[in-house]
Symmetry: C2
Subunit: 471 residues, 2 copies
């Protein structure tokens, strides 16, 4: 059996790797249920894997239950393909690879460490090439928590974050009880608080010894929360972080106004810190964020949007706050301009990478895991990079499909699947992740200015996490 789409993809995508951060369970299907899928054809180059694995520190190699578990799908020869009729329907992205055979398999762990590369047996429940039941595979934890995680950053800023959280709690307080209700609904809904952590991290990295970073970090989180509250109104979102959005519970009015309140409180805290330069950076960010959002609004439903235009949008609406959050660290530490610029660059590029991965997740994540509905962007007619690429690379019929769906909102059942199919056909999701990796690399390089330190290492891991994150 052979399908056209498979051979078409083969040149660049000979292997699909299903990666699961959860340990394997008795039910292999369940393991796949939570699978996050990385589509990186580079990963199948064994040399690259070895190289990367060699770079890892020995002490990072821990029990396999802490490794991501990989379900490999080998395509040794197009002639030998066995296509599973319903390959892992539970995961969004996999649907886009419906022509690629996916083996439902359990990872056996008769592994022996060999220069940090783990070999293991895969007992396939599907069929893997000619040999059938079992085959040897390489399991490399290159996306293990130690390499792509915010855990180390979380640990390093834990003490400060406790103070930030206390500040957040006290500053959402108001006699008007609706304010803490609405604010805390969102603030306590399990966001990673990545942005305030970046402020704390950069202040540490810059050797800051004062107190100002606490309030600035809280300000950054308030600005972010205000943006989310307003975004929900703008996008008419029903869900946010897996819960009903504030506007669904308290109405658009409350979302708008509590957002305004938080913005006001953010500025109050910044003023209390007393750094005019930090105020300048964060107030400029507030204007730029809104500008980016309006830009997106103006570009909305316009399939003619170019990649450059789209980048300008996300620089504004997402990356600017990351940049400002990072920049104020060295600023309040009175570090030289070059360190301020470096930190700003880390934030800006990390922010762009973060948003691009978000864009991909919107077409491939799972509602339960992401806390938002897959295909939201599609249904809202939002132009994101995967759309920009798929539209540009498509033929006339396909472009007409995009126009109909995104510009005129003509969406019927199966159209989301079709959209994801087109993105797969033109490698729009894949290349969006490639772009994200480019910006991730820039973020890491921007850190090079700083000497090696646990914090620097933790920040590098955060970049990797943002690229690999499943939520």
């Amino acid at each position: 059996m052979r399908k056209a789409g498979v051979t078409k993809n083969l040149a660049r995508l000979p292997v699909v790797i299903l990666m699961d951060q959860d340990p394997p369970r008795q039910d292999t299907q369940r393991s796949l249920d939570d699978a996050h899928i990385l589509i990186e054809h580079q990963m199948v180059d064994v040399g690259a894997i070895q190289q990367r694995a060699h770079r890892r520190n020995k002490h990072d190699v821990v029990g396999s239950n802490q490794f991501p578990h990989l379900a490999f799908s080998f395509i040794p020869d197009p002639e030998d393909l066995v296509v599973d009729s319903n390959p892992c329907r539970a995961t969004g992205l996999i649907l886009t690879f419906e022509l690629i055979p996916v083996a439902m398999c359990e990872v056996g762990r008769k592994s022996t460490p060999l220069s940090n590369i783990f070999y293991g047996y895969i007992r396939g429940s599907g069929r893997l090439g000619k040999s059938g039941e079992t085959c040897l595979a390489v399991i490399v934890p290159f996306e293990s928590p130690s390499d792509a995680s915010i855990d180390r950053l979380v640990a390093l800023v834990a003490a400060d974050m406790e103070r930030v959280n206390a500040t957040i709690l006290s500053r959402t307080g108001s006699e008007v009880t609706m304010i803490p209700e609405v604010a805390n609904h969102l603030i306590s809904s399990g966001g990673k608080r990545l942005r305030p952590m970046l402020t704390l991290a950069m202040a540490h990295l810059a050797g800051y010894s004062g107190d100002g970073h606490i309030k600035l970090a809280a300000s950054v989180e308030f600005m972010h929360t205000a943006t989310l509250l307003h975004d929900d109104v703008v996008d008419e979102s029903e869900m946010r972080r897996g819960k009903l959005s504030a506007r669904m519970l308290w109405g658009n009015e409350a979302s708008v106004l509590v957002g305004d309140f938080l913005l006001g409180q953010a500025f109050r805290m910044m003023v209390e810190v007393g750094s005019l330069r930090a105020l300048d950076i964060l107030s400029a960010a507030a204007a730029t964020i809104a500008e980016g959002e309006v830009m997106q609004l103006a570009a909305a439903k316009n399939t003619a949007t170019t990649e450059d235009e789209y980048l300008a949008v996300i620089r504004g609406k997402t990356a600017e706050l990351f940049a400002a959050a990072c920049e104020v660290g060295p600023v309040i530490a009175n570090r030289p301009k070059e360190e301020q610029t470096a930190c700003r660059s880390v934030g800006m590029n990390l922010g762009i990478a973060f948003q691009l991965v978000d864009d991909v997740l919107d077409y491939g994540g799972k509602s339960a895991k992401l806390g938002k509905n897959v295909g939201d962007d599609f249904r809202e007619g939002k132009i994101t990079l995967p759309v920009v690429l798929a539209f540009r690379r498509g033929n006339d019929v396909e472009r007409e499909f995009w126009r109909g769906a995104l510009e005129r909102g003509e969406i019927s059942d199966g159209d989301l699947d079709h959209a994801v199919g087109l993105m797969t056909k033109y490698r729009a999701l894949e290349d969006t992740i490639n772009r994200a990796q480019h910006y991730g690399a820039m973020a890491v390089d921007a850190l090079a200015l700083f000497p090696a330190s646990p914090m620097k290492n933790a920040l590098e891991q955060v970049v990797a996490f943002c690229l690999a994150r499943t939520h």
Copy 2:
């Protein structure tokens, strides 16, 4: 012919004065079309009128075409009442006094100045008491531009306002064309720019000689505009200043986001001025304004709201920005704390008075003149002071009417008229204006700290203007 309502009102309201800021036209009805009605029983005390008129400067007496034109309705004796069946139906408030006869009359100007009191003939087209066709009346321009106007303030800050306007124009600029479009739709729609003028005025009053007041004034206007944009979304308003609201033209999204942009730009300008104290005041105001709005949201549709609770709402949502706008003047001039407090007090009390008059106008103004629909507050279930008073003073049946209309939104034709009727019955509008005058008096007294000056005088006139304003 005699009607109960008239005699009931006679003790406090023997005369209704229709005041028209436009010169008389051939069509007397047309003159009444634009009439604004002042219900102030004090005004009919001829002694008080004379006294007030005596205080006026001779050079303020100008051509009668610059005077408000008064259409008097005399009620010399209840027994002699002639009730016009349809007295001035074109004006909103008059409907509340439907039992009081109104003469459709043209003001003849065979007048001779006599200690600043103008006597003139009124040729009535209606019937005025026993004497019939014509009778002598007193025409006193006590609400002339010179006594209750922002004209003098406008003149004094004209040069600065030109710079403020240029700043506003340049700071709404963005490559994202939708931003200046939306922002200027509102900013250029004929607002009085009272708040930024107050900042300029207070800076002058405090002897400030720098440049900072320009950007602070522009910031204040931006904060105000952002609030209006967000308010329209919150209130689902269709009209603003006589034009379609921005959200009707560009959508809720644009209103929310351009509001956010303006807020960000406001803070940028404040930061550029570099006064941490001014930043503190204005950022605290931003949070307090939003808090006041949320408070109003929480109190919305709650007829049990007390006058104190309502005052807390309008202190936040309206008066705080007036207060902050005034306070930053002496602050950037580095004037003593007592001057800062005095200016803040001027703004706070003026703001409260301003809002209370607004509340009355919402039940009595005219769409064409006000730029918003009469009865908006009523239809939106908004609890304002006239409602609070009418509800408290009403009987059970009447309270049930208020609950039905405002809490449950059960509004049918004629209900607005009935609401206004109840407000009239219990003097809710009249007493709201009395309350406004109380706060206006406090604002004037707060100015007493400053020595006599044209600016101080102009500010006193602004207070009078806010109490007497028709738009």
